[in-house]
């Protein structure tokens, strides 16, 4: 449907049509998301200061409008005198990187498993779905701790562990779709026409689950970011000194009696991004699938 609507847009593009299709677009979350991506990609260039530069002389500066604050460090400095604004900007890169890679990996594995299990059925289906059940019945955060206690913390390890736990969600939902789609007449026609199983899965089944895939992916960005932030918060995520939002909040916890904003600001950044992806996901879901409109 996405591919179809793109084709329609390029064929029938006219101003009133474009205006009509833009109606109801959630602008606020969209702006936040664009900002998040731009800041995440160009963080190093956009940051006013070096996010890693330690300067004990100016440690724990307050926000710019408070007594003792300065516009040079609008959001103050942390316990090591590092600029909080720069760290927030550069820290968005970690969230962006982790969420994009995890979604790409999980969506690919999940879609592959769903199509193969759903279309072939039988023992392939049983084994794959049992594996999904097993992974989904494990406490992901404690398994992440197991992983961290053996190989240590690191961005790559977070990506691996979150991908392992993200794909079963895709597989379960998409398999349901595949089971429905494979009953369609166009699939039977393809079988009669002599198409191979691989071709049917790739050309006839897969394009029909792309919509759901996009919706789940958008809705998942938020939970992946929350998971990464949680791991960084408990100290098994992104290792210091690389700034990550969760780790920044954890560093700030020691100062909540005097500099409460150190712990709160990274949290607010997370809320803005997660809320935006959730709003966009909900909008996409309604937009792409009229069936969901009642929910």
């Amino acid at each position: 449907m996405i591919i179809g609507s793109l084709r329609r847009v390029t064929r029938y593009a006219s101003w009133p049509r474009i205006r009509k299709s833009l109606k109801g677009v959630p602008w606020f979350p969209l702006v936040i998301m664009v900002l998040f991506v731009v800041v995440g990609v160009f963080g190093r260039q956009l940051a006013p200061h070096d996010p890693l530069k330690i300067d004990i002389e100016i440690r724990l500066l307050p926000l710019f409008f408070m007594k003792g604050g300065s516009l040079q460090y609008p959001l103050g400095t942390d316990h090591l005198g590092r600029d909080v604004l720069s760290r927030l900007i550069v820290g968005s890169g970690v969230s962006l990187q982790v969420s994009l890679v995890v979604i790409a990996v999980a969506a690919s594995i999940g879609a592959l498993v769903a199509v193969v299990a759903g279309y072939l059925g039988g023992w392939v289906d049983t084994i794959l779905m049992r594996l999904v059940d097993i992974i989904m019945s494990m406490p992901w955060i404690i398994i992440a701790l197991v992983f961290a206690s053996i190989v240590g913390a690191g961005v790559r390890n977070i990506i691996i562990i979150l991908s392992i736990f993200a794909w079963p969600g895709y597989a379960r939902v998409l398999r349901g779709e595949v089971l429905r789609i494979k009953q369609g007449d166009f699939v039977r026609l393809a079988v009669v026409a002599g198409a191979s199983k691989a071709r049917i899965m790739l050309r006839h089944i897969f394009p029909n689950i792309v919509n759901t895939l996009v919706v789940i992916s958008t809705l998942q960005v938020g939970s992946i970011i929350l998971a990464e932030a949680g791991l960084s918060f408990i100290g098994v995520g992104v290792p210091p000194p690389r700034p990550a939002w969760g780790a920044m909040a954890a560093d700030g916890v020691g100062y909540i009696f005097t500099q409460w904003w150190l712990a709160v600001l990274p949290g607010v950044a997370i809320v803005l991004v997660v809320m935006s992806t959730n709003l966009l996901g909900d909008w996409l879901r309604v937009r792409l699938d009229p069936k969901f409109r009642q929910l």
């Binding site: 049992r130 019945s137 955060i141 398994i143 009696f257 809320m275």
Partner: protein, 305 residues
């Protein structure tokens, strides 16, 4: 009925075996535990001695068999830090986590179900919109932010509640509320949509036409039938909530399983974390099994399949 129970039991056993394989493989494939334990400067004979002591020189399948048979006997090894059996450590912390998770679960379920029913009875009302907003925030706000904000307001500024620790019911308020908020969102959404579906049914109209009082229609005729998806969701929520306790326990220094696991990971006390993972998975699977039994009890269609 018995066939159903037997089938589910068998599935649970397979699940537990699967989890144990994954934990075992994770532990072995990521490096030689003897090397990790002794550090890069270790002497070769020390490494070999440790390997022999732990049976790391045996074939993988034999190692796995030892691991699983020890685990069945309740022996999951010794903590490197506390030099105590990890099983005893885990069991010692379990009541604290169960208390925290149980209280939050009760709050989340009551708030979610009651809120969802009210929202479904008057869709589009101010209460419905409020419920939507609150539950939407619940899934978008990281639990540590909720915790930090609560601590700043109620402990640092107002001095009403203790910042962290355990002992009295006042220590329980902030952690339980934080967890409950995050997990009530799903309950509320699901209860609302399940109730909306049921309230549309013919027998609800019939009950109203017959003159059954509205509160009875909602509580007896509608809620009872909307209960099946709600119970399934509640079980799922309990597990999400249980995972959430890890971060909450860490912030509020609540001495439960989550904190044990986080400390273990930070100190690279591998046997502790492994035991936490394995035992908590087994607990999850057991809960799932219990819920499925309950499910069969509520819904006769499953029982007589």
């Amino acid at each position: 009925m018995w066939r159903y129970i037997l089938k589910r039991l068998l599935q649970a056993v397979i699940c537990i075996l699967g989890v144990s394989v994954i934990v075992f493989v994770l532990a072995r494939l990521t490096g030689d535990p003897a090397l990790v334990m002794l550090g890069p400067g270790a002497r070769l004979e020390d490494i070999l001695a440790l390997r022999q002591k732990w049976g790391l020189d045996l074939p993988m399948i034999v190692q796995y068999w030892r691991f699983i048979s020890n685990a069945v006997h309740g022996d999951l090894g010794l903590s490197l830090r506390y030099h105590a059996p990890v099983m005893a450590l885990w069991l010692g912390r379990l009541p604290n986590t169960l208390l925290l998770a149980g209280v939050s679960f009760a709050i989340a379920t009551v708030a979610g179900v009651v809120g969802g029913v009210i929202a479904a009875v008057k869709p589009g009302s101010w209460f419905d919109r409020l419920g939507k907003t609150v539950s939407f925030l619940g899934i978008s706000v990281p639990v540590f932010l909720t915790a930090i904000v609560l601590i700043i307001i109620f402990a640092v500024k107002l001095h009403w509640l203790p910042v962290y620790g355990t002992g009295t019911w006042r220590h329980l308020i902030m952690p339980a509320f934080t967890l409950a908020w995050a997990s009530s969102a799903g309950q509320l959404r699901l209860t609302r949509s399940a109730m909306l579906d049921v309230l549309d049914a013919e027998y609800i109209k019939l009950a109203r036409v017959k003159g059954v009082p509205e509160y009875k229609v909602i509580a007896k005729h509608a809620l009872k039938n909307a209960l099946i998806p709600i119970v399934t969701m509640a079980a799922l929520q309990f597990m999400v909530l249980f995972s959430g306790t890890v971060i909450i326990e860490f912030i509020f220094a609540w001495p439960g399983i989550g904190w044990l696991a986080v400390e273990g990971a930070r100190n690279r006390d591998f046997p502790v974390v492994q035991a936490c993972a394995l035992m908590t998975s087994v607990l999850f699977i057991a809960i799932n099994l219990a819920v499925d039994m309950l499910y069969a009890y509520i819904d006769p269609r499953i029982r007589y399949q």
